[in-house]
């Protein structure tokens, strides 16, 4: 009897889209760092298997309803060929004062550039290095943490990242240590004229109990080659530790930027995440923060400014797993031309997570008739003694305010700029570090001037 095997893909995924990525993986597999570590090979194999099974998400997938990745399989991205390695830089982005230096790791097309990086200014015991080196120098630290919070089995893009994982930043702050200097992580996309290029940076931040660190990620593009950055970062916040994690993405508008940040916060720990999105043709930032110990605190906020045909997606998940934790989310965005923004914010309060205090606010300003925002707040509350609120607003520039400014002699464009800046400043106020806030403010101002 003849049998027919039907492979049925899970709903909302397109397994066929995995094929080009898998072929590339099988070509580069032997050259990936840490090939001698069996646990790592297993982890990559898991990632490959899961990605092969799922492929890319489609718009039938509830979590990807508003963000279509179909452009990715049309472009047939190749792994970074190392062309970025020869690129020289006169100046790299920083939030520091002119001429000041400090701890910094630089990655070009996903690969570490040691000669541009520095660990100067770090207290004794703090490790700041790239993952490829950490696999040799700190294999136990990596083995203990990598893939523990961002597991490949549930997220297909995490699985893809895990299959290819090769390099990225690793930070370890020992118990009780405060890193005074801001740590900067610079990611430059260069790509290649020959074909679209993909890279999958993998970051690991481990802050032991009662430690403190401030991290700023810069994502910028050089030239105009099509690139795909599919990054994953895992953040372990120990008991009483605090991690301030800021990111600004200013890639050019031919790039695709996908990123998944997963944090786990122990008791009385603080995880503070802020993302400013200005660049990329299509970007999606997923931020997951699990409050895994009592009296933990997480702030997950951001601002975005998009125009032209840009698409920006912010998808957050805050998991109140333990009692007496607080979470706060403030997202504000400005959307011009035909650009489109997506905000999906899920908060779950587990049955035992009493005395939870959760706050979510998402506001968008539409500057044109063709700009669009799709917002989906989701609160799932299973505990009864909980304070949770959320709000979403969509608006346009206020005509009364605009006229008031113009009636005082301020021209229309400047008046619009003042009002847009005022609108976004409420989100930027969420950035606790002044130097970072000031630098991010200036990126906002530059965006407006480039109109």
């Amino acid at each position: 009897m003849a049998t027919t095997t039907l492979t049925k893909a899970p709903r909302g995924y397109d397994p066929a889209a995995a094929t080009p990525f898998l072929e590339q993986f099988d070509r580069v597999r032997d050259g990936l760092p840490g090939g001698g570590l069996s646990w790592l090979n297993d982890l990559r194999a898991q990632g490959r298997a899961r990605f092969a099974e799922l492929g890319l998400p489609t718009v039938k997938n509830e979590s990807w309803r508003y963000t279509n990745l179909r452009a990715l399989d049309k472009l047939a991205f190749q792994p970074a060929a190392g062309t970025g390695e020869a690129v020289r830089f006169d100046v790299l982005p920083t939030v520091r004062a002119d001429g000041a230096t400090g701890p910094r790791l630089v990655f070009v097309d996903g690969r570490f550039r040691a000669e541009l990086s520095s660990t100067a200014g770090l207290p004794a015991g703090v490790e700041l290095l790239n993952l490829a080196d950490a696999l040799t120098r700190k294999p136990d630290l990596v083995a203990e943490h990598l893939g523990r919070i961002a597991a490949p089995d549930d997220q297909t893009l995490v699985a893809l990242n895990t299959a290819f994982l090769a390099d990225g930043p690793v930070l370890h702050v020992p118990r009780g240590v405060t890193v005074e200097e801001t740590i900067e992580l610079v990611f430059v996309s260069v790509g290649s004229e020959a074909q679209p290029t993909a890279f999958h940076p993998r970051g690991l931040i481990v802050a032991e109990a009662d430690s403190r660190a401030v991290i700023v990620e810069h994502h910028v593009g050089l030239g105009s080659c099509t690139t795909l950055s599919n990054g994953v970062t895992e953040v372990f916040v120990g008991a009483g530790a605090s991690v301030h994690h800021y990111k600004v993405q200013r890639e050019h508008t031919d790039s695709f930027h996908l990123s998944h940040t997963a944090a786990k916060v122990a008791g009385k720990g603080v995880y503070d995440n802020f993302i400013l999105t200005i660049g990329a043709k299509l970007s999606r930032n997923e931020v997951n923060s699990v409050l895994d110990g009592e009296e933990g605190d997480t702030h997950v906020s951001g601002a975005y400014m998009v125009r032209g045909g840009q698409h920006v997606d912010t998808t957050t998940f805050i998991d109140h797993a333990k009692p007496c934790c607080t979470s706060r989310e403030v997202y504000k965005g400005v959307i011009d031309d035909q650009a489109r923004a997506v905000f999906q914010g899920k908060i779950i309060v587990r049955p035992n997570a009493q005395k939870t205090d959760g706050y979510q606010q998402n506001r968008a300003l539409l500057l044109s008739d063709t700009a669009e925002i799709d917002a989906k707040p989701e609160l799932e509350i299973y505990a009864d003694d909980v304070k949770c609120s959320h709000g979403a607003t969509v608006g346009e520039l206020d005509d009364d305010q605009l006229f008031y400014l113009r009636a005082r002699g301020i021209d229309k464009d400047t008046a619009r700029g003042l009002l847009i800046g005022a609108f976004l400043s409420e989100a930027l106020e969420e950035i606790a570090e002044e130097s970072v806030r000031d630098a991010f403010q200036s990126y906002v101002a530059n965006w407006q001037n480039a109109r």
Binding site: Q401, Y404, A407
Partner: protein, 250 residues
């Protein structure tokens, strides 16, 4: 200085101004009094250039130029100032930032050098003191959390900083108690000069006890019904607007 001829204007297709004629010379203070709905605020918005107010007939000449052709910011640079009846709150924009942007925008358009932060601060401190305003009010967002009196003082401060040639005071007395009214009136009177003209729009005569006009006009049904000296205001206070066919419950 300003010459309004046969001005007709509509809002949402409805004619509100039905042929206003008014000429104001240098240094003159004119008051326009009228009942609610007579077109007082419409006149001030038309002169300041607000969207949605369509001029269907007539002309306004400002220092020999066609005012109606200018953008609101150009009118401000040319020396026109509207003190709003309801000053607008602008969260996120500090009062000083707003004042400095306005002053430098106007100076730039007039071909004067912009003031730096120190020069500006010196100027604005001097003006705030005269209006019993605090530094704290300058740091706050524009009009946010200001009381009615503070908002009107803030309008007067803007006028003092921008030094217009022609100021329209739209119901400046509304929402003010007598003490606040006195402070604002003092601020306005300090700005009276042979070169600066004013148009004071009000429903009640009370304000005109403090800002004494040279001429008073009665506006009703979109037209100036009668003009006279300051004694006309007192007469209106006594008899109301009934003789102009307006039936107002006091």
């Amino acid at each position: 200085m300003i010459e309004i001829k046969n001005l007709h204007a509509t809002v949402d297709g409805k004619e509100i101004l039905k042929g206003i004629d008014l000429t104001i010379g240098p240094g003159e203070v004119h008051a326009i009094m009228g009942p609610n709905g007579s077109g007082k605020s419409t006149l001030s918005y038309v002169l300041a250039g607000r969207d949605g107010y369509e001029v269907t007939e007539g002309s306004v000449s400002f220092f020999g130029k066609d005012l109606l052709e200018m953008e609101p910011e150009e009118r401000a640079a040319a020396g026109l100032f509207l003190a709003f009846q309801y000053p607008v709150e602008i969260p996120g924009v500090a009062n000083t930032t707003f004042l400095k942007s306005a002053l430098n925008a106007i100076r730039k358009k007039r071909g004067e050098p912009e003031l730096d932060a120190m020069q500006f601060l010196k100027l604005v401190r001097e003006k705030t003191k005269a209006l019993s305003m605090t530094d704290e009010m300058l740091k706050r967002a524009v009009n946010v959390g200001f009381s009615g009196g503070e908002k009107k003082r803030n309008e007067t401060l803007q006028m003092a900083v921008l030094q217009p040639k022609f100021a329209i005071l739209d119901e400046t007395d509304s929402g003010l108690d007598i003490d606040a009214l006195k402070i604002v009136a003092e601020g306005v009177n300090a700005l009276r000069s042979p070169e600066r003209s004013m148009l004071v729009i009000t429903h009640y005569q009370r304000l005109l006890d403090y800002i004494v006009p040279d001429h008073v006009h009665v506006l009703a049904f979109g037209k100036i019904q009668r003009s006279g000296g300051k004694e006309l205001a007192l007469e209106l206070e006594k008899n109301g607007y009934a003789e102009f066919g307006v039936n107002e419950a006091a």
